[in-house]
Amino acid sequence: MNTRLPDGVVYTETVVHTPPEKYLQEAPYQIAIVNLAGLGRRTVRILGEYVKIGESVTFDSYRDNTPCYRRAGNTKFSDASNK
């Protein structure tokens, strides 16, 4: 399970301001669904800078079993692969 995941492209995202009980201390935080090459889509937590649809993200770490990603530089990729 805890292997490094490939880079991805943001399919959709949101910043959560009203969290569930167990993440009360963490809000606001961003989650995203990302397209991973060959692995379909994953629901991930975004660390650091917020990302937008179509932007490229790179794997950072796992928190429990949730993959965490970060924005990959400032490069914007085409979202054609999302459709």
Partner: protein, 386 residues
């Protein structure tokens, strides 16, 4: 299969009721529906109850006989059905199957939820279990977050705007302000809706439905026997339940609800009509984006045009297809397990011409769309005047 009629309806007000428990709310709606149907309580042969999370919200399980006996129903088969926010839509579908198949003649379908005894973060956590807890829940996705991600993608693909989302909220609050049973009877402006406190971007508090207590019930019978009891029955022209993946990440296109499309397709076929024949609709606006997507998936507009439809006033009372004349989940309230049957009650109120200042001019055929989770269950019902 036999044709089926809705003989009677019963609904509590939706709201935050510190002095009402789940059992008394459920029993009140069931008793009212039985009285409205003009059937004897002893004539009811089976009971289906929709409830999402009674065990989590109020610590009570075994809810179907618990509510039924408080309403005077004893000894009959009583079954609770859980399909997230489509729980009582599913209860209605199963009740309809049991009458249409000839198994029973008089059946009650109901729904109840008591949500307001928990604080918001706990409610948020309980509701998130309607999604996939191992992926979405673990990442910190709330239900507003799931629909916010649908909204973001819809905006990206179709140019849907914040103003179009807000137009849904403004319309539904205007309708709910005139519904005596609605939770939040408050007119809001577009400016207010746009400036709401952020919940999960791009959704603000005005894009989200309410956390409510409430119950609703209907009595079903064979159409051929309806006139023995009442002259106010409505005919079930079509009803179907369909399903899809629970997790958004497992869907091909999150801006579409395949379960809504499938249930609607089966319903239109059963009824022998199409979307253009629908004269009013109650759709599942758990979030403003959900109403926009529903109007597309039900075929009221083409894909991507749901935002334009709302902002142009086409779904207002007096518009091409009035949507959520009750105020919808947004203003009427969303006691999740009660919502599906509540929508059916609201359609029947319009068909009977009893909606007061909210009454639509043409009211012979109405549709209800009840969605569970982020689209994994959908029940669509089409009702006509009998």
């Amino acid at each position: 299969m036999r044709d089926v009629a809705v003989l009677g309806i019963g609904k509590t007000a939706f709201g935050a009721f510190a002095d009402r428990d789940l059992r008394s709310l459920g029993a009140a709606a069931v008793k009212e529906a039985i009285a409205d149907a003009q059937v004897a309580t002893s004539a009811v042969e089976a009971f289906y109850l929709g409830n999402f999370a009674g065990p989590s919200f109020v610590g009570q399980n075994h809810l179907a006989p618990y509510v039924a006996t408080a309403a005077g129903l004893k000894g009959i088969p009583c079954t609770r059905i859980e399909n997230a926010c489509a729980s009582s839509g599913s209860a209605f579908f199963n009740a309809w199957l049991s009458v249409a198949s000839g198994a029973y003649d008089i059946v009650v379908a109901a729904g109840v939820e008591k949500m307001t005894s928990q604080a918001t973060p706990r409610v948020t956590e309980i509701l998130s279990a309607a999604g996939d807890m191992s992926t979405e829940g673990a990442a910190g996705a709330t239900f507003p977050a799931l629909f916010a991600m649908i909204a973001r993608r819809h905006m990206y693909e179709y140019g849907t705007t914040r103003e179009q989302l807000a137009a849904v909220a403004v319309k539904n609050h205007a309708n709910g302000a005139n519904n005596p049973l609605a939770h939040m009877r408050k007119v809001i402006t577009l400016e207010q809706a746009l400036a709401g406190r952020p919940v999960s971007d791009p959704l603000t508090v005005y894009d989200c439905s309410l956390v409510s207590d409430g119950a609703a019930a209907v009595v079903l019978a064979p159409l051929s026997e309806a006139s023995r009891y009442t002259s106010r029955s409505a005919r079930v022209l079509g009803v179907w339940q369909a399903s899809d993946n629970v997790a958004l990440e497992e869907k091909e296109d999150i801006t579409v609800m395949p379960a809504t499309r499938e249930a609607a397709k089966r319903c239109y076929e059963m009824a022998g009509i199409g979307p253009n024949d629908i004269e009013l609709a109650e759709v599942h606006d758990c979030f403003t984006i959900a109403e926009i997507v529903a109007t597309e998936d039900l075929g009221f507009v083409s894909k991507g045009e749901g935002g334009l439809f709302a902002a142009a006033g086409c779904s207002e009372i007096g518009g091409r297809i009035p949507v959520n004349t009750s105020g919808g989940l947004k203003s009427k309230g969303h006691p999740v397990g009660a919502t599906g049957v509540g929508q059916i009650c609201d359609v029947v109120i319009q068909l009977r011409g009893n909606a007061g200042v909210r009454q639509v001019a043409r009211h012979r055929v109405g549709l209800a769309q009840n969605l569970g989770g982020s689209g994994a269950t959908c029940v669509v019902t089409i009702l006509g005047v009998n």
